[in-house]
Symmetry: C2
Subunit: 299 residues, 2 copies
């Protein structure tokens, strides 16, 4: 079912060496063992990684080469994950949307005034959550606090309003609207929107301008983004637009530009916690976050 990383590692070595004998030596196994590892991997992936000839390895296939170079990253990530398990963990885990969301909030926390900064640094660990796990992350105890835009209607979850949130529209630089400073929000709402079916509707609504016109009137294009960079990639391709917090405006890659949304209704960041949260330190962090004045947030 799941990939076997030993087999994956074996493939990266074989792809590099181009020779079963040398790769097997490097891995400290027999060539027959390596043969079988590669065969298992190939049958599991359902692809041919290497072209065999009677005189040995004829060639690494295109698929195999691409798999090797991508696999190297996975192996590296796996090793980092394993070593990160030794580091001490902060007691309060705060989730933010998107795998790459954590970085933004880590930065933000570091730029707070000293008392806030140090409290956050000692008690809080930021983690990015895939868009389709946003409400599961809280319920399954993955995180203690989930920071998103918009309140949750999920049972058992308490939402605390934090800071005001301005939204901007993201369009490809090749899009007709690119270059405009401002677009009426009603006009923007008629464009085809990027939509993640798996994301909680409570949360998705704000980013599809569900508060401007009924969601049923929105034109949607389904994608399955896990992180903001996936969203930006889709937008850059040109067929859809998206809405995001002002926060990401200065971080956009060159092929994406943003427009201000004129007349957009007000929106807020919310902190979500479990209703039965027993831990004092969690409520203290929540209080701290709520006490931060709007000017020190992302305005």
């Amino acid at each position: 079912m799941e990939l076997n990383l030993t087999e994956v590692l074996s493939w990266t070595v074989l792809a590099r060496e181009g020779h079963y004998g040398r790769a097997a030596d490097e891995l400290h196994v027999s060539t027959s063992c390596l043969t079988k590892r590669i065969q298992r991997l190939e049958s599991q992936l359902g692809t041919v990684l290497v072209e065999r000839g009677p005189g040995g390895v004829l060639a690494i296939t295109g698929t195999g080469r691409l798999f090797a170079v991508r696999a190297e990253r996975l192996l590296d990530d796996a090793r980092r994950l394993a070593t990160s398990a030794h580091e001490p963990a902060a007691p309060v885990v705060v989730g933010v949307p998107g795998f790459d969301g954590a970085r933004v909030f880590e930065h933000w926390a570091r730029n707070q005034p000293p008392t806030v900064r140090e409290t956050l640094a000692t008690f809080v660990c930021w983690v990015g959550i895939a868009f389709d796990h946003l409400d599961l992350a809280l319920k399954s105890q993955r995180v203690d606090i989930m920071l998103t835009a918009g309140a949750s209607t999920q049972p058992g979850i308490r939402s605390t309003r934090l800071w005001p949130l301005d939204r901007i529209g993201l369009v490809a630089r090749s899009h007709p609207l690119s270059g405009r400073r401002t677009v009426p929000v009603e006009q923007f709402a008629t464009l085809p929107f990027l939509r993640s079916a798996a994301a909680p509707p409570d949360w998705m609504s704000l980013w599809c301008l569900g508060d401007v016109r009924p969601m049923s009137e929105a034109r949607m294009v389904e994608v399955a983004p896990r992180s903001m960079s996936d969203v930006l990639g889709s937008v850059a391709r040109g067929s859809v637009v998206a809405v995001s917090p002002t926060l990401v405006g200065p971080v956009l890659p060159p092929p994406v530009s943003y427009v201000r949304l004129e007349g957009a209704p007000p929106a807020w960041y919310f902190a979500h916690t479990r209703h039965d949260e027993p831990r004092r330190v969690v409520t203290e962090v929540l209080r701290l976050l709520a006490s931060i004045p709007a000017e020190q947030t992302f305005a």
Copy 2:
């Protein structure tokens, strides 16, 4: 040696359920099997993931929870890697520095004039390479073309000069130089520099301003970045500065800002290929890249 993803998956399920019986049901194994999977994982990681009590699971440890939420991303990456093996591979693999470098070049390729764009789209696949694998990637046949700044002195590698390259200085927003538009390059060169020991010196030199003053005079801080975001993270923490291509200027996260380097010597992008590269399509892509006028690059 390598992490076992079946065990990792089992842990994410157990951490979510907080109960061996339910988690085992969900995984379609017996509780005793699950017990042993978790024990193996714990002994391999060398940490305690769950506090056991006689009445069952007492609590998931902080380490265990953080491991679970991070592991979910690894599992997702692994599944994506496995499915990506079915997609057809472009014949020419072009490597760019840093795991996240590919995205920038994909965007860039998409914004070329139609003929160039379509040729690149059909023949080229961009992959990001960790900084410490830059010259290995070519030799081990991982990539056909490696795009970096600076020529290579490695034997067997042919470097083709492509486009002029402007460099900027990256500093934390809290850094004294932040806010300055321009800094004399000699002054910037005296700051403590981020340095990756594993990266090839040929390549690292440009980013440590080795062409401004001898590398021996540079103040270095060792880190092991794999991608531009690792670099940006170190810079944001405030103790070091870095140099990057102008290209990343518009992509910086809020806590990092950039200054122009006044008087920086000229630099170039280079395409590196194996000297014995037999494939016609590779040289054709190389020729295409070289033919792109400077204005259409990253100026």
